[in-house]
Symmetry: C2
């Protein structure tokens, strides 16, 4: 089972000044592509956000080091799937650094202007030799039309490539990519995300701050199973080539990030429903998001959706344990268009309408108003089905 | 599926000075008992710990109020199953208070010396009339041999009654009860727990502090699904009738609490394995327990156990996101008797032995040494199976 929000487009544009490619280097079976490249014509301002897991993939060390030494300027990002290069010790770091060095030599740029990301199972050494052997072919294939090839190359357990392009009224152009299906959670997951834009984001510090704000409202609000991986990385490349102000760039990045976050949740392992948690009436947006995340990770709420049960009690209970201000007597709970709890009491007369919403839609809405303020937030998740258990019980067998 | 740690005994003793009973008042179907009573011959020092959920069952309000007004002295605890008296507003509080008042009148004690607990589905009014109509019968049935009757009366989705009695070398006697199967988590769950002892626990403040320490090492280390309910309550009644020092009483309460916590995890919804998470090499016991709780709530770890997969990567990743000090290079991971990760690398050669442990035992052990200190802790959980999803998707339908 999986929830497809819309068909994969035939073509996805990249902002001017960027090229992309994807090809098979031998990590995945059946000649599926497993090595992706994003390259900018010139070094561009960049920023990254990494997993908060204490166990970190080798590429996290290398990206941190390169961004710091390169003053936040990046020429290219290399991504391999099907090998996380994690729990591989110093050798793993050396292997990732070598891949960056080899690509930089071909681009005639400093090694620190190349970043690398790896995703997949952990514990096996990175076959750096094989990756390096495919760099020339990858560079030759890099093209302004390569967005979909790149999106396919970074997939692991994803059912479909996740790529979203936005064009503003002005000259602003943003294209975003993500991969992930399980282990998706705020702060983050086996998630990799890449945002490329032609807009201006300011200096390195301002670019990093903008990416953090964007992530907090997008990727950090998607959860599949509450687990996070050692490799989660989100990278922003902003060429600044178009005369677009930072505020407009941030709005566009946020819009693209939201769509990618929704796709991550929709493609959650075993999912039969994309679930949008709407939290209103909170004191602050941060508290609203916190309540949303607790509801979105509750196995009882997620199994209720799988069972098409508009279970207001589980939603209210989950909201109640989020540790934020909450007025049970003034709270309201809705499922799609139907209020199922308000004024301190349930409304069983509205449950048939709520049930119809759960049955009829693949994008369902669960909402709660905390009754203590005016702030709101949305969080995206999926239902918890028997297929999720099956997929994750059988992953290695 | 369920994991039975040992057969339910034919008879369970109560400490001298306590009586118990259980009977059917019409809340459960099929004349199963649904109303339980614990009564002390004289008012005894008591303490309670409640859910931290902002949504709280009516009995939580009443217990807090009665313990405060009664200076921590309690004569009796009344428990009903199959109705949580939660999300029932002021009427629910009035209903619970009325049940206490009616029982107190029959015991000729102040109303504040009676506590009440409710467990079951939320949202429906408490049928107080029906409960009150059975108080005389319940009191008449109360007996030193009534422990098992009480344990059965408080069950809801439990597969078996959870009652443990301990007798020390000295005169110390403790009997403990718990109910819960889903929504089990530290701080707590649809869990109700009761500990009765003849030992001395000191004044009200010392009794409350002892119960908190006991809970932190027992009930707060059991998790089934990470969800908590609005009704979770743990109550200690300590008669002080035997000349047993507080330190010995605390050790006995902790031993009984551990056995009850293990049973809660073993009887987790859909469980096929009781899973003990052993965390060693932490800086503090609190940090060890925190790591244990993160591993124990990871759906990826829990589905791996269901799939009989000794997946060291998921254990290490979960430990890594617990937010506590952790040395990936010095860390060690074991599954039963087999080391599957140490010295910064996996040991696939030991995985067959680990797999045999998962296949052959219904009580399995997953361990991690964080490599940064000497503190340790255990946490108990169960695996996550398709049956869990089935039970919770279909609960109301």
């Amino acid at each position: 089972m999986t929830v497809v929000l819309e068909p994969v487009p035939d073509h996805v544009p990249l902002p001017r000044g960027f090229r992309a490619a994807g090809r098979h280097c031998g990590l995945k079976k059946d000649r599926q592509s497993d090595l992706g490249l994003l390259v900018a014509d010139v070094p561009v301002p960049a920023a990254a956000i990494y997993t908060k897991n204490r166990l970190q993939g080798a590429h996290v060390h290398v990206c941190r080091d390169h961004l710091a030494r390169g003053n936040g300027l990046v020429r290219a990002v290399l991504v391999n799937a099907r090998n996380a290069n994690c729990a591989t010790g110093q050798q793993g770091i050396d292997d990732a650094a070598r891949c960056c060095r080899e690509l930089a030599a071909r681009l005639r740029c400093p090694a620190e202007q190349v970043l690398m990301c790896s995703t997949g199972p952990i514990g096996a050494p990175l076959p750096a030799e094989r990756i390096v052997a495919h760099l020339d072919g990858l560079l030759a294939a890099a093209s302004p039309d390569g967005a979909l090839d790149f999106a396919r190359a970074i997939m692991t357990t994803d059912s479909y490539p996740k790529v979203v392009a936005a064009r503003g009224d002005s000259a602003a152009e943003t294209t975003g990519f993500a991969k992930g299906s399980g282990m998706i959670h705020p702060d983050m997951a086996t998630m990799l995300g890449f945002l490329v834009t032609n807009g201006r984001t300011g200096d390195a510090r301002a670019t990093a701050a903008m990416l953090q704000r964007v992530a907090d409202r997008t990727f950090h609000r998607a959860t599949v199973d509450g687990d996070t991986s050692p490799n989660d990385t989100l990278i922003l490349l902003a060429s600044g080539r178009a005369a677009v102000e930072p505020a407009e760039v941030e709005a566009q990045l946020t819009a693209v990030g939201r769509q990618l976050a929704r796709r991550l949740a929709a493609d959650g392992e075993g999912a039969s429903r994309l679930v949008t948690i709407q939290v209103r009436g909170a004191r602050t947006e941060g508290e609203a998001a916190q309540v949303g995340r607790v509801i979105a990770t509750s196995p009882l709420v997620k199994t209720a959706v799988a069972g098409l049960d508009p279970n207001w009690g589980r939603i209210l209970s989950a909201a109640g344990r989020a540790g934020v201000e909450f007025a049970a007597e003034r709270a309201r709970v809705w499922v799609g268009p139907a209020d199922v709890y308000s004024g301190g009491r349930p409304h069983p007369e509205n449950e048939p309408e709520a049930h119809r919403h759960l049955v009829g839609e693949t994008e369902v809405v669960l909402g709660v108003d905390l009754g203590v303020g005016l702030a709101e937030a949305e969080v995206w998740t999926c239902d918890l089905t028997k297929d999720y258990v099956q997929i994750n019980a059988d992953y290695r067998t």
